[in-house]
Symmetry: C2
Subunit: 136 residues, 2 copies
DNA sequence: CCGAATCCCTGAGGATACTG
DNA sequence: CAGTATCCTCAGGGATTCGG
């Protein structure tokens, strides 16, 4: 089986949702990243994405429908389900990488811009964000 | 001034909103495309995007806030406003191009996938769509 | 001509609880 | 373990109207 994912791989404080680039839905980019090294089980993904199962399932179903991932059910005493990228899904990795590369330079400016033009929300808000597609 | 935009440049029937990429918001990708050749006036953009002014203004303001475009007001007997890409905004063109290039191959499969898994909506719906970032 | 203001509506996203 | 089933909130998107 694929080697375990680094639990710190997705930093919940990373301001990457300021990056103006989205693939499919909010979580799809991160899911694809997590599947980069091979098969992953549902629970692995849920733990990493700090996501509730409903939303995760939605994303996974959409990705499956569009042919980006394959879903495999392993019956048994303890049932488990595994997901993996198709070649089409794998082709998205290049694009995600391009987006992350692009974002590295202007990210600080983006953060500044958001802070400057948005004193509307709560003041002591440390720009929380659930780490989308541009995770390192 | 920049040469006129082709009115047919953005085909309202193009199924490009099935392409799983978004830049900023729904219209930002198209706006950036329209600004590729230089300055554009508000009315040019509104006509091309077949968009109501409020939503267009929103997108433009966001793009301006994030440093992707510059807004210039020309006062006078007939006031008009022009928008142009910054170098940062221009750097997005590469990403958009990469996304469009990627999308060309799997687009048909994406359309099929959507139609197969979505007999839920109205039947005689000719996949209307407002032509997002992947316009040719 | 270029928006701003208003109202409305849908749907993505999420919290919680339950099931084969 | 891997999901459904509900319910809720809120922001994106849009139609319409008004203003400088």
């Amino acid at each position: 089986m694929t080697k375990p994912l680094d639990p710190e791989m997705l930093d919940p404080l990373c301001p990457s949702d300021l990056v103006p680039f989205r693939v499919e839905d909010k979580w799809a980019g991160m899911i694809i990243q997590c599947l980069e090294d091979g098969l992953r089980r549902f629970s692995e993904l849920r733990a990493l994405l700090r996501n509730t199962s409903k939303v995760l399932t939605q994303s996974l179903r959409t990705l499956e429908r569009d042919g980006f991932i394959i879903r495999t059910v392993h019956a048994g005493p303890v049932r488990h389900v595994e997901y993996e990228l198709t070649s089409l899904g794998r082709s998205l990795l290049d694009l995600l990488d391009a987006a992350r590369t692009w974002a590295r330079a202007p990210l600080d400016e983006l953060i500044d811009a958001h802070e400057r033009h948005q004193p509307l929300t709560e003041p002591a808000n440390t720009t929380r964000c659930p780490r989308p597609d541009t995770s390192s």
